[in-house]
């Protein structure tokens, strides 16, 4: 009960390349567990954070992703920032598959985020793209 009442903010900075995205969702799941989210909610957050990161690397590639996780009452807020947008390596090239790239489906991502979190959004200013989500913890704690 008391885990989420104090100030708790975790920040992660990773290269904006596909092999590092798993670290974002793993960290998010660990933070959610620490904040007493239940198993199903943690599973939802792992996927939602992954989709959030995909939103950030889709289109114009960035150089780094900066992701923060913060509990505000019963709500976990996750904010991701892609910095150096346009300066990184496109996902298709990272996968070594120029011309036959993996299609990042923003439509599927949006549907997943709609279903798994309470709020989410994205915006872009200058060379920084931002995406965020909020998910409330249920009253039934783990």
């Amino acid at each position: 009960m008391t885990a989420a009442t104090g100030p708790s903010r975790v920040e992660l900075s990773i290269p904006a390349t596909v092999e590092w995205l798993a670290l974002a969702r793993t960290t998010g799941a660990a933070v959610a567990a620490r904040l007493s989210f239940n198993y199903d909610e943690i599973t939802d957050l792992r996927l939602a954070i992954d989709e959030l990161c995909l939103t950030l690397v889709e289109g114009a590639p960035a150089t780094r992703l900066e992701i923060s996780f913060e509990a505000v009452g019963d709500v976990l807020e996750v904010e991701g920032r892609a910095v150096g947008v346009g300066l990184g390596t496109p996902v298709a090239l990272q996968n070594g598959q120029a011309g036959a790239d993996i299609v990042l489906s923003s439509d599927l991502s949006a549907r997943i985020l709609d279903a798994l979190v309470d709020e989410h959004g994205a915006d872009e200013a200058g060379d920084t793209r931002r995406a965020w989500l909020r998910k409330q913890r249920s009253t039934e704690h783990a």
Binding site: V18, E19, L21, A22, L23, R25, T26, T43, R46, L47, D50, E51, L54, V57, V91, N95, G96, Q97, A100, I102, V103, L104, S105, L108, S109, R111, I112, A115, L116
Partner: protein, 114 residues
Amino acid sequence: MEEMFEIAERAVGDQTSVLTVRGEIDVSTAPELRDRLLTVAQDGRAIVVVDLSAVTFLDSTALGVLVSGLKRLRADGGDLRLVVTGRSVAKVLEITGLVDVFSIFETVDAAVAG
């Protein structure tokens, strides 16, 4: 950090191939699944069963690869069938509406039999 990702392939008769996937399918591992799906299709397998029973994580890039594979196979008169037993994978298919697009089975045998 992550579980080992691997894909095992098994032919069943002349027409069917079973791909058993283990681990997490995300933007870094989905290309391997796409390549395997392309290879089995090029080998003339009309029916491809993708066993997701041992998949612990699957995101929109994985779904994109599976949908592409499904379209390609169905265009040639074949099919891509999924074996899903895990709750998290079933939930992703449910919330994206893809549960109505794929033929989904609880066992490999049932999927092979169609």
